[in-house]
Amino acid sequence: MEVILDRDAFLKGLQMVQNIVEPRQTMPILANVLLETEEGTVRLSATDLEVGARVSVPARVVGKGAITVAARKLAEIVKELPAAAVALKVGDNASVSLRCAGAAYRLVGLPPDDFPAVAPASPGAWLTLEAKALRDMLGQTSFAVSHDETRYALNGVLFSLQGKELRLVATDGHRLALASRAIGEVGKPVTGIVPRKAIGEVMRVLGAGEEVQLALTENQFVLQMPNFVMTARLIEGQFPNYEAVVPKNHPGRLTIGRAALGAALRRVSVMAEERNKPVKLTLAPTVLRITASSAELGDAEETLDVDYGGDEVSIGFNSRYLLDALGPIEHEQVVLEFKDALSPGVVRSGAGDAYCCVIMPMRI
């Protein structure tokens, strides 16, 4: 195998796949990236057996073939190379020579035969979406994914396609975030829990302009962009019945400026106890009071004028959860819905119901 690549294109390709490679591996070959020649391109593949990615980089193919080399080392080298042509040639015993301008490397490779294939299933139907739309929806949900490994069904984002709607849902058992978007008719409803790592990688590689194609099969999530494909094994397990968790008809409702609420929460939570950053929201006619106190530090209070005329109610929340919920809202106004100190509160965008975050209170 012998190929000549443009350094910048090569680096961009490597960066799209190298994060898949786990730093610690049970199989040595999984630390490597697979390079295969095709007509006018080199295909780079990386996998950890759960998540895999493949990208095609334009190249002049002098001799056909395939090889695997240490992914992180290769990316590190190419990152330091000058913007020039990179010549890569496989010699005897899977040794790889790499030359660029005056720099020359010899890399110890591994034969490609044992490399687990990155094999996208061939789904019946693709869903086409703007990259920005998908990135927004992931931004509206991924923060709520659980890190508790014992609750593996929560370690990912639920993708649900039904009717004319795509829904993304994530929950860690304390809060639940839901993003929905109208799409064309999808036919048969499908759902799948996409693991956290794949979500992070998708958000990293999604560009601004292009369109992406998604598909869910029995056990796989597939994402396609021009010259790029990512696969992820779906998390097996039962995702909670999220529709039952989103409260309907809460008696209390309040519209408030997003920036003002966020700033007040940040100011007050400085004095909240370190671990869960609890703050108390007390609503009374025309005023929202946010307070925090800590036995060691002292306390803080801030009041905001609000258009509220209902009963007085006081609810404790983890302020980090409230700020996370406000984070993906772009609209200037946010809507808060609530009932009492033991019932979940809801944060929505003033722009509509496409996004909501349900947060369970804390007892303070």
């Binding site: 014992t150 929950t171 058992g173 639940l176 909670p240 349900v358 369970m360 804390m362 007892r363 303070i364």
Partner: protein
């Protein structure tokens, strides 16, 4: 206290006085010795020894089950006496406590006089003997209290701590168990004096940061304060099976009962636990612990679920000798994050309290989870 459980039994049953008494599990079973009277100790019986071995060593002994409620009441009396001598009393266990006598001289005379008075009052009021160690810090005092049992009093004069410790075995040091003792043995170190003469370098190289602590302890330096009424760090329940068990259903059922007991204890103490720890001891005595940290709970079902998840991840490579569950990372109840996905949790919380009140009034097992009701053989 000296042979505390056994001493309480001998006090309350005069027929047992002068006879070897062993308090612990059923001698035909596989539990351990909780306490042995001094008569039994002469036959080589020690606490924590397998009870079957104790039965072989001392076949004439009177074997009694542990009556924790009774020992607890006696313990309360003793702790109350200690409380008359200093506000700073730190109970270590049911029969052991640290007492800070700093500044009590105007009331009770020199500390050694105060200790004599304490011992006398314990003997007069409870009929039991205690051994005491008097020193400038907790570690040296504890070592001193162990040296002259029963009914002993060992005083270590200020400044003589290192000389006092020097001839003693390294195993007297806190944090030196079998493994560390073996490591030190490989360096030719068996006495505390040898550690005193050793520079920190090789100790730290061999034992890490722990080496530095050992060196300080060996020199008799310990600046930990006597902390009164320290909140419990964990609560747990353990069961040694009559016969090693490899039936998951039995393990699960045992855990279910243990989780209820731990939850009841948490509720009674007004605490909730963030950490649940599962303990398994295999037939060959190797012990495994697995923990999970989550939202604070005092709910038996939730503690059981978490322990079950931990158990589910373990392969039963061997039969299980002992299983246990412990609740740690304790904090005051009714605070903290509520669960979103378990809407019944708040109702179970109220249920747990109601069941506690009913069981307190009508007896411990009046209401138990259905899984713990013994199967009726008639059906």
């Amino acid at each position: 206290m000296d042979a505390f459980y056994a001493a309480v039994e001998q006090r309350d049953r005069p027929a047992l006085r002068g006879r070897p008494v062993i308090v612990g599990a059923d001698p035909r079973g596989r539990g351990v010795v909780s306490a042995a009277s001094y008569e039994a100790r002469r036959s080589g019986v020690r606490s924590a020894m397998p009870i079957s071995r104790a039965a072989r060593l001392c076949p004439d002994a009177v074997f009694l089950p542990v009556d924790m409620a009774r020992y607890g009441r006696v313990s309360d009396e003793i702790m109350a006496i200690l409380g008359d001598f200093s506000p700073l009393v730190e109970p270590v266990s049911v029969d052991e406590a640290f007492l800070d006598l700093t500044g009590t001289a105007p009331l009770f005379g020199p500390p050694v006089e105060a200790v004599r008075r304490i011992k006398r009052r314990i003997r007069d009021e409870t009929g039991l003997t205690a051994s005491a160690g008097l020193a400038t810090n907790k570690f040296v005092a504890k070592v001193a209290s162990d040296l002259d049992k029963p009914d002993g009093l060992v005083v270590v004069a200020p400044g003589s701590e290192a000389d006092f410790l020097a001839p003693l075995s390294v195993e007297r040091l806190w944090g030196v168990g079998k493994a560390t003792a073996r490591l030190l043995g490989e360096l030719g170190i068996t006495t505390i004096g040898q550690i005193q003469r050793l520079s920190e370098g090789p100790l730290v190289a061999r034992l890490g940061a722990h080496g530095r602590e050992l060196k300080a302890l060996a020199l008799g330096r310990d600046d930990r304060a006597v902390e009164p009424e320290s909140a419990p760090r964990s609560m747990g329940a353990e069961t040694t099976f009559e016969r090693d068990c490899r039936v998951r259903a039995t393990l699960e059922r045992t855990l279910r009962g243990q989780a209820e007991r731990v939850a009841r204890e948490l509720r009674a103490s007004g605490l909730a636990a963030a950490r649940v720890t599962l303990k398994l001891r295999w037939a060959d005595f190797r012990t495994l612990t697995r923990s999970h940290t989550g939202d604070p709970t005092q709910d038996g079902l939730e503690i059981y679920r978490r322990a079950l998840t931990l158990l589910g991840r373990e392969r039963l490579v061997q039969p299980v000798r002992l299983i246990g569950v412990a609740a740690g990372a304790l904090r005051p109840e009714a605070r903290g994050q509520l669960p979103l996905l378990d809407p019944a949790a708040l109702r179970r919380e109220r249920l747990g309290r109601a069941v506690d009140r009913i069981n307190a009034r009508f007896g411990r097992a009046t209401i138990v989870p259905a899984t713990l009701v013994p199967e009726d053989p008639a059906e």
